[in-house]
Amino acid sequence: MAGYFKSILTGTKSLVTGLKITQAEFFRKPITLQYPHEVLVMTPRYRGHIQLVKNPETGTHQCISCGLCQKGCPSGCITVRGEKREGVKGKVLVQYDLDFTTCSLCGQCIENCKPGAIEFSLEYNLASTRKEDFHYDLLARLEEQK
């Protein structure tokens, strides 16, 4: 019988402790971000999909079409194609495609790129039901930015 009352007592005590904590929390400001009404600014190191860096001087990318990013990518999601053009030293980039569906955001491509022609974007509002929407033509995207 004594055990019975003791367990009622400890149970009540435990309940009161819990309620006290709940009560304290009840008056705290909500911590949830009201997405999409509020959006976060990503930290500078955030890894979004990769993009070509725009050189402010020339107004265009600095890719030399060496293809090292494509070679280093573990998931094979980069397709780079450069062309020889008359009167231009080296190759001219004509195609830079990223298949973002298989990208693991590892950064190997960026580390492999000697001229620093690619970087992570801060893009995170990405959602679609079609996988084609994640096949990016980075060259065209760079043009759009202009």
């Binding site: 819990g18 930290t43 190191r45 955030y46 573990p74 693991s104």
Partner: protein
């Protein structure tokens, strides 16, 4: 559901738990044979999220395999990053600068706390308490923000490199860590009041799911499961790596062998990790974060290599055989939760179903890591 008559008024039936059951945290399926509310047999069925991580290690270069390490145990990915880069550094004889070692340990321990906090919340949720999950997530969110500011990702980190780190931490991060530790220190008593001391939780956990040290040994269980069975084994102490020997921390061990003991081990580990982080911040030297000479092409000498680290759930070991090429000949990942889960079948016999689920929660399973 099939039923099979044992005797006239005794019947057992088969029950499928999972692969999509909230209590199994992912896609684990358990085939239960039940006698009423009692478990007669519980057979885990694996493979629903098998991604061939080991094979992937054998058909890509050593550097290309790095991102895979963030996708085994996605809750404490940095321990796996650490295990792998240290293995490659061991094979290639690369010396890592001290600052990089400190940052590695600091971030790994932060990740361990975040993993334990998530386990804490989810575990109490399994037992029917919803509120602690939200409190734990509030704290965990702070860690994710901190780690995101240095690594760029929130969960599937790929931060360490052979010979160092992807990038350095700044003072903002270190101040952020100090502030977070202060905050978590003030929150721990609240967790203990709200959950550890709670009568319902104690009744659900104390003396439930006993695992003897002998059973742990037979199944190769490690981590908090082993330490909750009274065995003082922690890779950080027993086979020290990185700068752990220079740090002062204790390994929490409980002798009760029940679910409560495993709970307590993890809660104490949070405190110990906080101590480690404090020491890392205090002792962190200035300097480089990358070894000066890291070969561009990783081609380890022919041989058989093994390296183990203490992940949040136990010993994570990688055994690899190199045939001198730029890819591994064989890559074997020893996942701690795979071993921890395998004792479930034997240990859950005769338990009430509700207790078996509490017991399973105390094992802290991460299914993508079990399946690999």
């Amino acid at each position: 559901m099939s039923s099979q008559a044992l005797s006239q008024n005794q019947e057992v039936f088969e029950l499928n738990l999972g692969p999509q059951h909230p209590a199994t945290h992912g896609v684990l399926r358990v085939k239960l044979v039940m006698d009423g509310e009692y478990v007669v047999d519980a057979e885990p069925v694996l493979g629903y999220i098998h991604r061939m991580h080991e094979l992937m290690g054998e058909n890509r270069t050593w550097a290309q395999y790095l991102p895979n390490m963030g996708r085994l145990d996605y809750l404490s990915a940095l321990s796996y990053n650490l295990g792998y880069v240290e293995l490659v550094e061991k094979m290639m004889g690369i010396e890592v600068p001290e600052r990089a070692e400190y940052i590695r340990v600091l971030t790994t321990e932060l990740n361990r706390i975040s993993s334990h906090l998530l386990w804490f919340g989810a575990f109490v949720l399994d037992l029917g308490g919803f509120t602690p999950l939200l409190y734990a997530f509030d704290d965990r969110e702070q860690i994710l923000d901190l780690l995101e500011s240095v690594t760029g990702s929130r969960l599937t980190y790929c931060y360490y490199r052979f010979g160092g780190l992807y990038n350095d931490v700044d003072d903002d991060f270190l101040t952020g860590c100090t502030q977070f530790l202060k905050r978590l220190r003030s929150r721990m008593p609240m967790y203990h009041d709200l959950v550890t001391g709670n009568v319902i939780l104690r009744q659900r956990l104390v003396d439930v799911g006993p695992i003897s040290a002998e059973m742990c040994r037979r199944y190769g269980a490690t981590g908090p499961v082993l330490r909750g069975s009274g065995v003082n084994y922690d890779v950080r102490k027993n086979e020290p790596y990185s700068i752990y020997p220079e740090l002062d921390f204790d390994v929490p061990v409980y002798n009760e062998c029940d679910s409560m003991a495993r709970y307590m081990v993890r809660m104490d580990e949070i405190e110990q990790s906080m101590r480690i982080i404090e020491q890392c911040i205090a002792q962190m030297p200035q300097g480089d974060i990358m070894a000066p000479k890291v070969p561009k092409m990783i081609k380890p000498e022919v041989g058989d290599y093994y390296h183990a680290v203490e992940a949040a759930r136990g010993t994570f070991g990688i055994r690899t055989v190199s045939d001198g090429k730029n890819q591994a000949y064989r890559m074997k990942l020893r996942a701690p939760t795979f071993c921890n889960l395998s004792l479930f079948q034997e240990a859950s016999k005769g338990m009430l179903l509700a207790d078996a689920l509490a017991f399973m929660g105390s094992l802290d399973l991460v299914i993508p890591e079990i399946d690999r």
